[in-house]
Symmetry: C2
Subunit: 302 residues, 2 copies
């Protein structure tokens, strides 16, 4: 399950609640496209902004509408108590796996993070993916800590931040991490612009934001890399460079993905929880132009 | 209200709930000591780890037991919806003011932060203190943004991060900020080790962690600075240097303050929400030694 393309849909919402119909449509779209798994309530799914109760509801809706495609549910929260509640609701909903980031307000120590994973793994009956995302959690894993956590029961994957663009350096980084973790723990790349390099450098999975909107484009890149066609994977990433440029310009993937979903009519506007906002004015027009230019508007309606 | 010593108590808790009796005792202790205000549910009060319902309960308990001393309640949350709910419960409880930090998971833009404050101020009938704490929120205010926000209705104070130790540089920093904000908006220093320099450099208030445990020591320092006795304020800070050294060594004030509260019997162990932990082993012994050495154990029992 923690291999190939894991597509991360948005959880569209406004101040009144979750746009459930739009969410269900996106889950159905991803399942129909044949992604390897659906990563619900990741950072792209705005998990940190929802209550435990709302997350339990999203868990049920996603598994019910995924048509048997494995659903991986984000269970991270500031407090261990809430992480355990989210783990319980994810399992009750029928999640195939869970994704856990060490979310912080006060900075966390290595021992605190290890004990968080140990506590959660102790109560878990489905596999877990360690979510390493220093940009949002402000916690930096050492390789040594990854090694300790990867040996806990239930841990089966690590979602790593972007690798550098030099493929040889990226490959060394994956090999170094691989030496510290059990052989049944996969490594998945995140940060869409680094996906082709990451897969070509030996990552087993792509935890993908753009795959949550355009699964066919992300699948083509993933399958090329899986077939060993390094150049084709790289070429398909280069073709998406206008999207990656938007990510760089607008401080990450979430606001860009959410704006694309709004301008293509996949969700109602607004779709992000306040205080977050999608792009407006000229920034929004630029996003619409990129979608048009790449001919992505068609896939989104399929 | 946003002047002098604002003392920030812990909110002692464990995985079963809040240690309400210990919390009430600490509020009574602060009120009895004559602090100028009590800053409940600040970072020291672990606000980010509690539900809106728990925060409403703490709001009521604090005002009911503060004996008329103004209570400032932290209302920050990742989501504007929850901030508004916390503001409402704080006002219903009878808070004299509120404290709002731009808590983030996804990085926030200046416009998002401004709109957060504008939305909250619009619905508020008590004064607000802007809580600038980049170490926990990972949002950095520009002076220009401080100026814009300080002109919103209800904004009456800014809680700034530590100033540098050079008093002239600190004074320049305060003067520069003061020029951008209305004259009825006070500036309060946080980061206990910088308190004496901050007050001596012209800050109106000290938002104090150690004051939540040892109000007499913090009041003495504050009153010296308010009386213009720069050297006495500095000397009282130097006397507390062993505490500041613990803050530096253990990544901030929270774990040190919580460990002090545990070793002096003010709270039951554990008192922090998991995954956070107080100091253990030799680190804990060092904290106990510092408390003993400074003769602070007496004040805590009063």
């Amino acid at each position: 399950m923690f291999t190939g393309l894991s597509a991360f849909p948005l959880t569209p919402m406004n101040e009144q609640g979750i746009q459930e119909n739009a969410f269900i449509r996106s889950v159905e779209h991803l399942a129909g496209a044949g992604v390897d798994s659906i990563g619900v309530l990741g950072s792209t799914g705005s998990y940190a902004y929802l209550s435990c109760k709302e997350r339990a509801r999203i868990a049920r809706l996603s598994v019910e509408n995924a048509g048997g495609v494995p659903v991986i549910l984000g269970i991270g929260a500031l407090r261990t108590r809430d992480v355990l509640a989210n783990a319980e609701s994810a399992q009750q909903a029928g999640a195939s796996g869970v994704l856990l980031a060490p979310v912080s307000y006060q900075n966390l120590t290595d021992d605190e993070v290890f004990d968080l994973y140990a506590t959660v793994c102790h109560s878990l009956s489905v596999p877990l993916c360690v979510y390493d995302n220093p940009g949002t959690t402000h916690f930096t894993f050492s390789d040594e800590l990854h090694g300790r956590i990867a040996h806990l029961p239930q841990v089966r994957s690590i979602k790593i931040p972007p690798v550098v663009s030099d493929i040889d350096v990226a490959r060394e980084r994956i090999v170094r991490l691989r030496m510290l973790i059990p052989s049944d723990v996969t490594i998945g790349i995140s940060g869409d612009p680094a996906a082709a390099t990451g897969l070509n450098a030996g990552c087993d999975a792509w935890y993908s934001v753009i795959g949550g909107l355009y699964p066919q484009a992300a699948l083509a890149l993933t399958r090329a890399a899986q077939a060993g066609d390094v150049q084709q994977a790289e070429a398909l990433s280069v073709a998406l460079e206008p999207i990656w440029a938007l990510y760089r310009e607008y401080g990450g993937s979430l606001r860009v993905a959410a704006t694309i979903a709004e301008v293509t009519g996949k969700v109602s506007q607004p779709c992000l929880p306040q205080p977050l906002k999608t792009l407006q004015g000229n920034d929004r027009k630029r996003v619409a132009q990129v979608v048009e230019q790449l001919g992505l508007a068609f896939e989104v309606k399929s």
